[in-house]
């Protein structure tokens, strides 16, 4: 079980609570977690990563275990503590704009 924390706007959009719990088949990676998240909440497609290129949107960051994982490969294993559910996988909207 993976725990995912969404930024406030995406929680509202998905009508999800503060933390989303996902079952991910196979290796827990950014891609597999986001695939599972979008399968549960189809309205989030295109809001975290581009519909076509599947690249992370520039003002969205991925944090876990106190580390910025945004620039890791989408197919790299997530930290064990995230994969086990001990620590959440954080989707964060950058502090920017007005």
């Amino acid at each position: 079980m993976i725990r995912v924390v969404l930024p406030a706007h995406l929680r509202t959009l998905a009508r999800a609570g503060g933390e989303v719990e996902l079952e991910v088949d196979g290796l827990a990676t950014q891609r597999s977690v986001l695939d599972a998240l979008e399968a549960r909440y189809p309205m989030l497609r295109g809001t975290i990563r581009d519909h076509v290129t599947q690249q992370r949107r520039p003002f969205v960051r991925f944090f876990g275990c106190g580390e910025d994982l945004s620039h890791e490969s989408p197919d790299a294993p997530l930290p064990e503590a995230v994969a086990s559910g001990a620590e959440p996988f954080l989707l964060v909207g950058a502090i920017a704009g007005g």
Partner: protein
């Protein structure tokens, strides 16, 4: 009992203002989608309770929202806007080729007859259509593909397709406008397109009368007279009497011919409204006086409408999609400002009063006249 519903898109959410036919007392609902940029909301002429809304932010991209109860509740629908085939390039600000990139939906235009069919004008400029209530979107690629696309360039606000007009007398005919490419028309339901910019003159272009490249800000039409179009260009208010085949300037005695918003009286096809704005970079009303100008002669001769509008120290702008009219017997006229005011007149512009004063910057105003 008749009434009106005013759909207001702002930089930080949407608001819905409702009143009865007297238009004296207003209920204000919202913000909906607080914190998101709401470029446009519009109701289906075929089903007034069916509303579409464009919701976006720089963080999370584009959403389309749909309501089936007049805006009380909303559900997200499809947000996948992918250009057809190879997207190609247009001109960048420095004149170099730049790849077409989807950024946002500027304008949603529901079909006149089918609540599930809706058009979306997007940045970078393209026209999309959904026939399933916004669930899926397909580009009408003939517009970008007709040949002049590589010469289009963005205006200061981006290369946006901001105006979509469906001809009520000919379902195959659609007019659109792009900043800064110009106006275009299809006569075959969107398969093929013609630039309709003859008569426009833009001194910022190497060839001021070029086929494309004109910074058209807005175009409006009266439903009873679809061959007559009015245009607010970057500079110049223009008129066409032949469905865009040719244009002539009707700026007349306006204090400045620059502006964004323009609309046509609901019952008088030759009565039109603009809000003159000081150019080129100030983008606020001349002399700090917020004045709507009305022509009852289809242009050329204009009168300022000032009663109830601030006539000193006013430095707001009125954006291109931020003016609309209702179709009650005494035509109502509405506009929103970048200062967050929404002004209304229930007597065709003679008198004005703010419905609200302190919204976020207003991006768009649409009005539904309810039976």
């Amino acid at each position: 009992m008749s009434g009106v519903r005013v759909l207001v898109g702002t930089r930080k959410g949407a608001f819905i203002l409702t009143s009865d036919g007297k238009r004296e007392h207003w209920d204000i609902a919202g913000p909906y989608f607080g914190g998101w940029e709401m470029y446009h909301l519009k109701g289906s002429p075929a089903d007034p309770n069916r509303l579409y809304a464009s919701q976006s932010t720089g963080w999370f991209g584009q959403m389309i929202q749909l309501s089936n109860d007049g805006g009380r509740t909303w559900e997200p629908v499809g947000n996948k806007f992918v250009y057809d085939g190879v997207a190609g390039t247009h001109q960048w600000y420095d004149g170099t080729p730049h790849p077409w990139e989807f950024k946002r939906v500027w304008h949603l235009e529901p079909s006149l007859t089918d609540p599930d069919t809706v058009y979306a004008g997007v940045e970078d400029a393209g026209l999309f259509r959904s026939t399933d209530g916004g669930q899926t979107w397909r580009e009408l690629p003939g517009l970008r593909g007709h040949g002049t696309g590589p010469r289009w360039q963005p205006g200061a606000g981006g290369m946006c397709l901001h105006t979509i007009i469906l001809d009520p007398s000919d379902r195959q005919r659609i007019f659109i406008a792009i900043s800064a490419a110009g106006a275009f028309r299809t006569d075959d339901g969107g398969e093929t397109w013609l630039p309709i910019n003859r008569g426009l003159r833009s001194e910022f272009l190497p060839d001021p009368v070029a086929e494309v490249g004109h910074c058209v800000h807005h175009v409006a039409m009266h439903q009873s007279r679809p061959g007559v179009l009015f245009m607010q260009k970057h500079w110049d208010v223009m008129r066409s009497d032949d469905a865009g085949d040719s244009w002539r300037e009707v700026s007349g005695n306006l204090p400045t011919d620059f502006g964004f918003a323009l609309d046509v009286h609901a019952h008088e096809p030759d009565t039109i409204y603009v809000v003159p704005i000081k150019s080129d970079s100030e983008h606020y009303p001349p002399e700090g006086k917020l004045r709507v100008y009305r022509s009852r002669t289809g242009g050329d001769e204009w009168e300022p409408l000032t009663r109830g509008l601030p006539q000193s120290d006013c430095y707001v702008n009125v954006l291109r999609d931020a003016m609309a009219v209702d179709s009650l017997d005494s035509c109502g006229v509405y506009f929103g400002t970048t200062g967050g005011q929404v002004y209304a007149s229930s007597d065709a512009g003679d008198h004005w009063a703010p419905i609200v004063r302190d919204l976020p910057a207003v991006l768009s105003v649409e009005v539904q006249t309810l039976a």
